[in-house]
């Protein structure tokens, strides 16, 4: 593959080759996804946890799209996760039991919510945005609580029984189908995200994040781009929520909880933002850490989570990772182009 260059690409100019190389797949990426799929066979008793990881990873990836690529901070990303989760639950309950159909509709509905909400995050400072996103999530939470005749309120939504995926694959007890399903969806959405961030549109987002003033003076209309990416991120978050509903066959108010938004942020701190893998790697580290810590000390694990977070932020993730993973440094460099 590296030796035989097809004739038409030989004429590619050096700069184009540089840009293409930046967007090209590297071997650790293949490795990452191959191992993720290999785990279907390798770790049959942890499918449920891995399903949760895939969903959290997708959710964090969605936050990465706005935080890592467009620089929009959010403390309320769970709003769209929740919309997707409830949409999927209600669809399943009232007739649309096929999961993929439900997933697509839920994503679209969450996207619509994101589109409307995006107009509120265009102005103001980071602090304003933190509060506005938080406020939107709180209102959604309260709405879901109030509409208890349809959402089940605090008791949760019962009777969510999805049928077989595409009419062929039934959800099973060990969580295998669930994991394969969530991983596949996450993978496909990851591919799309990867394509988008490497496009001119993606590049213009990075420019907006770096220097919004200058981006405006070279003719980029910031608001439209931000609305577009925010809507897309909401679609992703909604699909993550829909996956959770379909694989756990239950929806409760916790899908809209503040801690759900905070978790996604923590995941990105752990995994790093702005290179797409941060959400996925962070989700793995976060869930494993939480699982291990809470098995060790069910009541006080949250202390150690806090401790790790403080250390991570204080020392800086890059320096910490560099210290621990110096032997793996070349590998990490290969996966991530640029990390903040």
């Amino acid at each position: 593959m590296l030796t035989s260059v097809p004739p038409e690409t030989r004429e590619t100019s050096a700069p184009a080759a540089f840009l293409n190389a930046k967007a090209a797949w590297r071997w650790p990426e293949y490795l990452f996804w191959l191992s993720a799929f290999a785990l279907i066979l390798l770790l049959p008793n942890r499918h449920l946890l891995m399903n949760e990881i895939a969903i959290l990873g997708l959710f964090a990836l969605s936050l990465d799209l706005i935080l890592g690529y467009a620089g929009i901070v959010s403390l309320g990303h769970a709003a769209f996760f929740g919309v997707g989760a409830y949409a999927a639950g209600l669809l399943t309950k009232y007739g649309v039991t096929e999961p993929v159909t439900g997933l697509l509709i839920s994503g679209a509905l969450a996207g619509a919510a994101g589109f409307l909400a995006s107009f509120m995050i265009l102005r103001g400072t980071d602090l304003t945005r933190l509060m506005v996103t938080l406020g939107v999530a709180l209102i959604f939470h309260e709405i879901a609580n109030r509409l208890d005749w349809i959402t089940g309120g605090t008791d949760g939504l019962l009777g969510v029984a999805p049928s077989a995926i595409l009419g062929r694959f039934e959800f099973d007890f060990t969580g295998r189908t669930a994991y394969v399903y969530s991983l596949s969806v996450t993978f496909l959405l990851f591919l799309a995200a990867r394509r988008i961030v490497n496009s001119p549109f993606g590049l213009s987002l990075k420019a907006l994040k770096d220097n919004r003033l200058r981006a405006a003076t070279i003719g980029i209309a910031p608001n439209r781009r931000l609305i577009a990416i925010y809507t897309l991120a909401a679609v992703y978050a909604g699909m993550a929520g829909a996956l959770l509903t379909q694989t756990t066959q239950f929806v409760s108010l916790e899908v809209l909880d503040f801690s759900r938004s905070a978790d996604a942020l923590l995941v990105l701190v752990i995994g790093g933002s702005g290179y797409l893998y941060g959400g996925l790697i962070g989700a793995i580290a976060f869930k494993l850490m939480k699982d291990t810590l809470s098995a060790m000390t069910p009541a006080y694990w949250i202390f150690w989570m806090g401790f790790i977070l403080v250390i991570l932020v204080l020392i800086g993730r890059d320096r910490l990772v560099a210290g621990i993973a110096r032997p793996f440094a070349p590998l990490l460099r290969l996966i991530g182009g640029r990390r903040p």
Partner: protein, 393 residues
């Protein structure tokens, strides 16, 4: 209820195999694992602490061996999040091969796990959550806590017998609150009383002032209150601060408001409050005296009704194992649990074989000072009360 899963064949075999293996009497001294899933962190952490302490105390007191089997308790924190509860329950079933699922601090947590109990034919002992319909979500659910309607009728009946004609209700705006509001109204209206106003307070609410002002405007004979146990004290203080106690509005509530965990630190404002509930740490029986003493010593706190649910839940599991001679077959255990009755520290209780819900005495109590500490002192008893919602069906 029909099964929500199409069991993959391999999983069914694996699980079935595990059950056969666990159930075979040839292997002496194997362990019986009990998966105890509780909110140990987050807003409902205190529920988890009470149940866990009681369950551990039970094992310490009665020994870790029953019917020749060693009991192993696996405690997991679900942070009060239903999807986590479900995942943990599923993992406990698949990986740890637990014979009984137990715990479940809140209604949605029990709801999320219910299909798994049906699917794996594993008994699920609900030790805390109190919404009436929980036991209907799976034929394998057994409850040792209480239902909110069950304890609400106590206070409603007491009120109508004690001259309350016009009452108002004030509840937290979520599932259990609405249950309580409904039951109270039905019961009081049936006895000839009237509910002249219903106020619902948001779950996140630091100040009761505007709601209490409405009560003050309406001047009912009595105010019936349900708030989750952490909010009882604030409510009580603001009730008194507003002078409602002096203006002739009688405060009545379910026992959640004067939770044993809290009541002593509420101070004098709580004195005289009449509530109805199924357990008070002050319950006068030798069983309870021993239980309270041991619990206080072991956990360094006063046991409340949550602890009681944990204690009786463990007792139910132990007794069922004795009855099956140590067999952990889920259906056999479930059958053994149905109809079982015993004398608990809270008084005589039994498991209704039809509904698998608990039947117990509901006591009407008044907050009084006993040996310098505030307690709910029982003064009237409704005997062997079943969950009224399911009884009506």
């Amino acid at each position: 209820m029909t099964s929500r899963f199409a069991f993959s064949r391999r999983a069914a075999i694996a699980l079935g195999g595990a059950l056969v293996l666990a159930g075979s009497p040839a292997l002496a001294q194997e362990t019986v694992k009990i998966g105890l899933i509780l909110p140990m962190t987050g807003p409902s952490a205190s529920t988890g602490r009470q149940v866990e302490a009681a369950a551990k105390l039970y094992i310490a007191e009665k020994g870790a061996t029953v019917a020749g089997k060693k009991i192993e308790l696996i405690v997991k924190d679900d942070t009060g999040t239903p999807d986590v509860t479900r995942r943990i329950a599923q993992e406990l079933l698949v990986n740890d091969k637990v014979s009984v699922l137990a715990g479940f601090g809140l209604t949605p947590l029990a709801f999320a796990a219910a299909p798994l109990a049906t699917q794996s034919k594993t008994p699920m002992v609900v030790m805390a959550a109190a919404t009436s319909s929980i036991t209907e979500q799976s034929p394998y659910i057994v409850r040792t806590s209480f239902t909110l309607p069950q304890v609400t009728i106590g206070i409603a009946d007491w009120a109508s017998k004690n001259g309350v004609k016009k009452a108002m209700s004030l509840v937290t705006d979520y599932g259990p609150g609405i249950d309580a509001e409904k039951t109270f109204k039905e019961r009081l209206t049936a006895a000839g009383g009237e509910v002249i106003g219903e106020v619902r307070v948001p779950l996140r609410n630091p100040d009761f002032a505007p709601f209490l002002q409405r009560v003050s405007d309406a001047k009912p004979d009595a105010l019936f209150v349900f708030v989750p146990s952490g909010f009882g004290s604030q409510f009580m203080k603001q009730f008194v601060e507003r002078g409602l106690d002096k203006s002739g509005v009688r405060l009545i509530a379910t026992g959640d408001v004067t939770d044993d965990d809290q009541v002593d630190s509420m101070g004098d404002v709580a004195l005289g409050t009449v509530t109805s509930h199924h357990y008070s740490a002050n319950h006068n029986s030798p069983e309870n005296k021993a239980f309270v003493a041991a619990f206080t010593k072991a956990a360094n706190m006063r046991p409340n009704f949550m602890a009681m649910g944990g204690w009786d839940g463990m007792n139910l599991i132990y007794e069922a194992l004795k009855k099956t001679n140590g067999s952990t077959d889920g259906t056999a255990l479930l059958e053994a649990m149905k109809g079982m009755s015993w004398t608990s520290p809270r008084g005589p209780i039994s498991i209704d074989p039809k509904t698998r819900d608990i039947v117990q005495n509901v006591y009407v109590r008044k907050v009084e000072r006993v040996d310098g500490q505030l307690y709910n002192v029982e003064f009237s008893t409704f005997e062997a009360v079943a969950d009224p919602v399911k009884a009506a069906k």
